[in-house]
Each structure stands twice: as C-alpha cells, then as structure tokens.
Amino acid sequence: MVSKIAIVGDGLSALITTATLAKALMRLPAVEITLIESNPCQRHNVISSSPTLQDFHQYLGIDAEQFRTIVNNSYNLGLHFRGWSSTQQDYVHSFGHSGEMIDAVEFHHYITRLKRQKPDLRLEFFSPGAVAARQGRFLPPAEEIRSPLSKIIYTLNLDEFDYCNFLRNYALAKGVKVVQASVTDVIVDNDNGFIRTLSLSNGTSINAEFFFDCSGSAAYLLGEKLAVPYISWERYLPFDRRMDCFSSNPGREVSVSSTVSSTTAESAESINSNTTSLLNLVTRMDAGFRKRLYIPGLCCEQFYYHSDFASDEQVFSLQRHHLSEKKETEDGHRKKVIALKPGYRQQFWANNCLAVGSAAGFVGDTIISAAHLAQSAVLRWLRLFPDRNCHSLLRTEYNRVTLQEYEHVRDCHALPFLCATDNSSSFWRQVAQVQWPESLTYRVTLFRKTGTLAFYEGQSLTPQTWIALLLGFEIQPHHYDVLADDVSLHVLESHMAKRMKAIGDYVKQLPVIRS
C-alpha cells in the first residue's frame, strides 16, 4: 500500500487533506505522513463552509462543542442574495428543506400553482432555516426544541487561522510530521513520471510514494512539474480577482442602496430586507459581486470582480465607500487581493500526485464551499485507495467522477450570472453574451418549461438545493406537475397557511442570536 505520503501547501486545503489522511491512515502500521508548509496562514480571515462540515468533523472524531470553543466561529444558516435581478431584490438560500411532498408531489409544484394567484409567494417561506435566519433567530443544536418541522440545517463561518491551527494540531496528535520549509526541487522518476523526492529549503529532502499538491493555483507539483494543463472556466465564472477587506467591528447592517436599485418596493416590502449575522450576504455589484462573512470580532467583505472591468483601486474605493458610515478601525483598512482562476486541472490525479484545493481548480466558493470540495476530494481518493503503482484506471475513475462534481458546482455558481438580467454596466453586458454550458442551459430550460429538474450525475448538490436556487433566481416554471391540481385550492391554501404558521410559531421560540 501507499504508506509514505507528503502534502505540499500552506492553506486550508492542505490541512483538510492532512487531517483526513491522518484520521484514515495513521492507525495503520508503517504509515508516514508529512506536511510541508512554507508560509502558513498568519492572519485572521473568515471562511464559509457547507453543512457537510459537521459530517467531516464527525468523521475526524471532533467534539462539536469543544471545537466551537477553540475555533472562533459563528453559526451560518445560509446565503442572502441581494440585488441579483431587477424583479427580485432578495432571496435567502437556506441549507435545509423547504416544504415536504404533498400526495407524492414535490412541494415546489404547489408553489408554482399558487403563485399564479399569489405572486408574492416564495419557497423560502416554507424553510424553517430561512425564516429563522431572516429574524436572526437560532437555537444551538444541543438545545434543540422538539418540533415536527424539519431540522434547521446550519454550518459555521470559521476563522481560517484558528481552523488551520486546529487541524494542524489534530494531525500532529495523530503522528503526522509537519515541516516548515519550501520545496526547492522535485525529483521525478524518468521511467514513469512518478514523483520520488522533494528537496526542501532547509537542506533536507523527503521521499514519498504519494504526493498531495495543495500549493494553490500555481500547482507547483501537478501543474509545474508534471505539466498537467489548466482548463479555464472564466467565461462561466467571470471573475479573476478577489479582494478581502476586513473590519474588526461588523456593526449593524449598512445600507447598500447605492449599488442596489430598489425597483420593486412590493417584494422588498413583503419580507424583512435586513440581513442578519446568521446569513452570508451576497450582493451583486457593477463589476461582479461581494460576499460578507462575520465571525465574532471580525467581518470580511470579499469582492469578486474581473480585472478587465474594475481595477483593484476602484474596488478598494468602493469598499471605503461602504464603510464610510461606520466608525473605521485600524483594521478596517486591511485588505488582501487574491488572483482567482476559475477552471480545473485537466487531470486532478496524475501519476502519484493528487491536487486538492485551488491546485485542482476553482469553481466558486459561495453555494458550495471550497472547503467542501477539498473534503470530498480526499474522501474520494481514500475510497479508491491505490497501491504504490497507482493503477491508471483508478486515476481515470477519480478524474471522471471529480470532473462531474466540478461541473455540477460550476453550474450552480454560474446560475446567478445566467439569471442576471441587468445591462447597466459593461461587465453585465458582457455576462449577458456568455454561451453557458449546455448542462446548465438544459437544466434551466427544462425547469422553466416544465418545473421538473433534469437529472445529472455528480455529487454535492441535492435536487432540493437546485430547485431552491432555480426558484430563488426567478426561473419561474410555466407548468407544474398535473397531480398538484388534485388538491383543492381551498385545502391547499389552508395547508400552506398552517404550515407557515407552524414555522412562524416555532421560530418565535428561538432566541435571537447576537453576533
């Protein structure tokens, strides 16, 4: 079996990889795992995660309560999309289910049916998570109130620095070696192209049988040394920069009316348009979008934009504009610009090297988190666990399934761009010209025409998530399941009203969360 493993990289994906491997393999005899970090994360930063974080922690055997005392975090119940289309200002995407089947018909068909009479009706009214999040209410899971409603699914925003330290300590406790050095040379076997040895800046070298390349978008091993090309998806995910701006005092919700036109007072009125710390706010901008994440004591605004349409300076001044109403702190000016390369590595696994994180690709970090893709990648590799020869069919299978997952996640992150109908800036005019991937246009067209969801293989997104997204971004079906007509309008309305009342009553019992 593969027993000597080296992981190269500084960021979260390297530590997710290391911790997962430590859990899965360190109990076996003769296993040696080494993490090579050159410049580990030194500053506090906020990252979002997906609800699979809890499964992942359970897999690692991490006590959830203890974890929350070590890693600075806040509860997150979903995303708050704002300003993405001209007709709808506002959509909360919660992680949980929105509505159960009625008489073997999916709930959303009834929404489509009723919407003809009640255009303000929304699927999110039936998601306990969305309703609670909009009111800033949530009860930590340990104290769960018994309720017939489906559980509120949540995840955590995390301090990246804390989380990296936590995972590093976890791995160290399992016997993983951590070396602080950079890789200066890579020695590759001429016969089969397998990586054999890494020479390090501290004068030592590391031999291993398998290598994880978590070195970021440069992909030092897989990209530079093994020359695996990178395929760009920049046309579908039109951003190449991310500027992170930090402030230490998140304060209250700041008006963003300067970037969001308030054309439909009607829909804005029907729901509380304020956002809360339980939601990560995702707002459309003239040259991209921005996402705001909180943890106690730290707020991070991430601006996603394309350098062809906005310079770093323009984005930074926009940021200062948003902060102007706040009392700025020293930290309020801290910023970091990261180059993004939407796309994927043509082979995620080549020879004896597997890329995880940005080295493998970048397909967005909003609806499905990058952390989720890293967890999923390592677990998938473990399911196909190779011996030293890394049979080529295992690589083929891994690459096949991983590409499916990447396409799936790419499509969901491209959906908001496809749905945007605004032509007010050159950036959005360009977006309106994009030829979207066929899998996405087929999915959208089918849903619009029939209200049904096309099936594609690929993990990470459930059908319910897709339906919520499609409705949330205003893909309004022209038809619904004929069986949804079987319930009389009167019965259906009373069912819906009861359901909303039950959710409202339940949410009222939950305490207000203060960030």
Partner: protein, 540 residues
C-alpha cells in the same frame, strides 16, 4: 413588512386548467397496457380524463411467469393495492434474488444475485475487499454465505425484512414472481372499475394531423373511431404507433445482446417453493425458471443464429421439472431500444419502447419506470417538447445502464470458460457451454467503452464504478463479478496490514450470525400456505 401568512386570507377562486389532456388512448392489453391504464386511472382520477384501452383478442399477449424487482411493491402501494390480495390474485410467490447456474465462476456451478448487501462496510472499506483478502489464503466461505438473502434463498426460506435497521433481518429486500396474465387481468378489473373503457378491436387505420403528424384518431376493424390527445403505445414489439406510424426508429443492440428468440412453457408447481428465480446458461442462451403458486414458468432465451427453434424447445423440455402443461409459446424479439420512446403525442411503454432480455427481471420495472416518468412529465395539450426530451433522456440513461449490466453476464461468463481457477472444486464448467460458438462470440465481443472501464477497473483494483441513479448498484455488480469468477487482481491495499487472525474471526462470526438468522426464518412454502389459509378464513 407584510405578514406572509396573510397571503392566504384572501378568497380562493376555482382553478380552471386550460388545454388539458382529455382523451388518453392506450393501445395494447398486456402487462404494459394494463399497468399503464391502472396507474393513470388512479393517479389522474381527478383530471377527468377519458381513458380507453384498445386490445385485440387475436393478438396474444406475452404473458408468462414473470419475475419482478422490489420496486413493484412501491408501484402497488401507490395504486393502493393490498399485498395479500395481489399475492392471491396473481398466484405470486416471494423472491429474494436470482440464481445463476452454469454461468462460470470459481464458486461452483451457481451463484445468487440477491436483493441485499454482502457483509458490512467496515472502516470505510467495502466488505468484498476483506473477502478478497481472505480468499487468497483460502480461509473463506463463498461470498454468498455473507449475504442473508442468499443463504435464506438456498434454504427455501423467507421472512419479511425487519424494519429495525439494526437487525440483520433488515439487510435485504424482496420482490415477487407473478403470473403476468393474471396480473394484467387483475389490473384490468382495477382500471375498469375506475372508468377505463375497454375496447376490443384491431386498429385498421391511424389518422394523423396533416401538419404536425400528431396522432388524432384510431379506426378499428368494426368501423369505430377512437379519438385521443395522448396515445400510449403498448402494442408490443411491433410498435404499431411509435414505429409503424411515427417511424421513431430502433437502435439495435443485438451485437451486444445477440439472443433473439424465446420459447416458454409452464410446468407443475415446485414442491420446495424456491424463493428465487433461476437462470441457467444454455448452449446458445439461457433458460429461466419462475416458481408460482399454481405452476412453474419456464422459458428458453436463445440466439437463432446458433440454435434452431426445435433444438431450443428440446433443451427446454428435457430440463423441465415435469410434464409441460401447455403448448410451447414462441417469441421473437430484437434487443435494442426505440430511438424516441416519446414522440409527438405518442409514448411507447413496454416492448414497443425497446427490449432487454429478462435475465435480470427488468421488464416490468421498465414499464413501471416509464409510467411514473410519464406522470411526472405529464403534458398538456400543447405537448411541450421539453417533457418528451427529458423523458427520453432519462429513460435512455436507465436502459443503457441496465444494458451494461446484462452484457456483463454474457461477457464474464465466457471469459472464465477454460480458465480454471485454483480454488474451483473440480470442473465447474458446463461442458456444453465450453464448446459453444455462441459463448465464444460473447467472449470475443468488443465492449463499449463505458462497460469496458467498469470491468477493467474492477479486474485491476476491486473497485466498482458507482453512480447515484440506476437500478443496479455496487452490490449487484459485485454479485455478478464475483459470482462469475471475475476476481480482481488486487483488493484495497490498506488491508495488507490488517490482522489476519482477527479478520478471520470476524468473518466467521458474521458467517455464523447470517446462518443462524437464515435458519430461524420460516420456509417459503409455509409462508405461502399460511397466506392461502388466511385468504380462505377471510372468506373471499
């Protein structure tokens, strides 16, 4: 902020659906026709559709003993059909899996593909890897001994699965063997009671709309005209509407699945009441045996290029468990699928949509699947083509995956002929099979890439290509791979360092607990008898 619940305080007004499908015409009265009629009459009952089923008395239906998959239970449930009544009316027996006899393999002459898993997943590694590791040292029982439905089936025992997920008795599912004609008859009563008009006659003319080619009217031999908005073609292989009228085209798969004939004949009831279907590899095809309460269904699927009808019948008759109880029924078919199963306002369901041989009992399942998809994508009179596009796309995906799985049986069978594995107990090969040019053809088949990848990955590494949707998932593939002796060259290498003695002890314990659980189940025969008594007591 508006209180959203107030949205519902307004007065409701009646909903007036527009452009609905009013007249549905089903052509054909076999299992496909009556299953469709029954399902539509129940599930669309509030639509006020007029459903007419046209059946020709002269054209026989292909109703023989039919083995099913567990999904049929959900179909019956959806229609509100009580299991006891269904069992009684269709002379049904329970089914835990399919026994494959003479298909090769190292585990002797036969293996069972069960409705259940093998062993338990442990440390995130599938059970079969542990089994493969132990097998190398010769210290293991056949893989089937680690599957409760397999062991129970061999003992002719049956019990309803437990609903307690921690019990070993919850590790399997079950299906039925039914008399397909009786099932159709039962569903006919069911459908007619729900307003389906049963019309005897033969179609003499199909009227299409001059512009768009939609089918409008069927003229019968007695001069009646039957109008429809939606036509369901259940007319069997010939595809009277979908092919003869609409020319949907047929994708021929006979290169991969070359059998093109079958002959069926009933025989007396099997006293031991096996709770499984049997599929025995034969000179140029295979023979089925389907145990029912009142008789046994038998048949021989074969390839006419390698075997004459007479030879096929002879092989079937000499292997019967008793006298033939009726004249043999010969069938011809062509494996493949209709290029468009839903075209214009016509949906093909059953044999008119395509044919896969019944080796894995998928016939009724594909009918059921098509019906449920039709209801999911039920159109209005505009016939939005997005519905048919997705219907065809998703049906194709299902049927292609089933095809791969069927081809595997043929391919893996011959692959092992002549390759005697060291552990086989003497000669396990059917001498007939070994010599057969038919099986040589199957062996030399150039597989399609998709299946090639699946088989190669398993052979090399022991890993199964998995997918989320599809009928046959990892346990099924493992059953056939290992059952037919396609043993991988390696197993998950993490097991290299696990403790052999400890593993052996765990496997022994598992083996024993499965054996005990199986022995504790009642005999299938007794279950059937007690149900019959029950039926009498309730005085039907």
């Amino acid at each position: 902020m508006i209180d959203a619940t107030r949205l519902f305080c307004g007065l409701g007004f009646s909903h007036m659906p527009e452009g609905n499908i009013v007249n549905i015409v089903i052509l054909g009265g076999g299992s496909a026709g009556w299953m469709t009629a029954a399902a539509l009459s129940q599930l669309l009952k509030k639509r006020n559709c007029h459903i007419t089923l046209i059946e020709s008395e002269r054209i026989g239906t292909v109703g023989v003993g039919e083995a099913t998959l567990p999904h049929l239970r959900f179909f019956n449930q959806r229609l509100g059909i009580a299991e006891a009544e269904f069992m009684h009316r269709t002379q049904a027996t329970y089914k835990l899996g399919i026994e494959f006899v003479n298909w090769g393999g190292a585990q002797g002459q036969a293996y069972i593909h069960p409705f259940g898993d093998y062993g338990l997943r442990f440390n995130d590694i599938s059970f079969h890897h542990y089994w493969l590791k132990l097998r190398r040292t010769g210290a293991t029982a056949p893989i089937g001994d680690y599957s409760l439905p397999v062991v129970a089936a061999k003992l002719n025992r049956f019990q309803y699965p437990s609903t307690n997920s921690r019990s070993i008795l919850s590790s399997y599912s079950y299906a039925y063997h039914v008399d397909a004609s009786l099932y159709a008859q039962y569903l006919r009563e069911y459908a007619c009671a729900r307003g389906v008009v049963h019309c005897i006659g033969e179609v003499t003319h199909v009227h299409q709309h001059p512009d768009n080619g939609f089918i409008e009217t069927l003229t019968l031999n007695d001069g009646r005209n039957i109008n429809g908005d939606l036509f369901i073609d259940c007319s069997g292989f010939r595809g009277l509407l979908i092919e003869q009228t609409l020319k949907a085209g047929y994708e021929d798969w006979s290169r991969y699945l070359p059998c093109d004939r079958a002959v069926a004949v009933p025989s007396p009831v099997l006293r031991q009441a096996p709770p499984y279907t049997r599929a025995t590899a034969s000179l140029a095809g295979w023979r089925w045996r389907i145990p029912l309460r009142h008789r046994t269904g038998n048949g021989h699927v074969y390839c006419s290029a390698y075997l004459s009808d007479d030879e096929a019948l002879q092989l079937l008759l000499t292997n019967l468990n008793g006298e033939a109880m009726a004249e043999p029924l010969f069938l011809r078919f062509n494996t493949g699928r209709r290029k468009s199963m839903w075209l214009k306002n016509c949906v093909a369901i059953g044999l008119s949509a395509g044919f896969l041989e019944p080796l894995e009992s998928t016939g009724i399942h594909l009918i059921q699947l098509a019906i449920m998809k039709l209801i999911e994508y039920f159109p209005n009179s505009v016939m939005e083509s997005a519905y048919s596009t997705e219907f065809n796309r998703s049906m194709n995906m299902e049927i292609e995956r089933i095809k791969d799985f069927l081809v595997l049986h043929y391919y893996a069978c011959e692959e092992n002929c002549g390759v005697n594995t060291p552990n086989s107990h003497g000669s396990t090969l059917n001498p007939q099979t070994k010599e057969s040019p038919f099986w040589q053809y199957c062996h030399n088949l150039t597989l399609e890439d998709r299946l090639r990848h699946k088989i190669d990955l398993f052979s090399a590494t022991g890993h199964v290509v998995n997918y989320m949707e599809g009928l046959f998932l990892e346990p099924s593939w493992i059953a056939v791979y290992l059952g037919q002796g396609l043993l991988p060259h390696s197993y998950d290498s993490r097991l290299d360092c696990c403790n052999q003695a400890q593993l052996q002890a765990q496997m022994r314990a598992l083996h024993q607990s499965i054996a005990n659980a199986a022995a504790s189940m009642p005999l299938h025969r007794q279950i059937l008898l007690s149900e019959t008594d029950e039926g009498h007591r309730h005085g039907e």
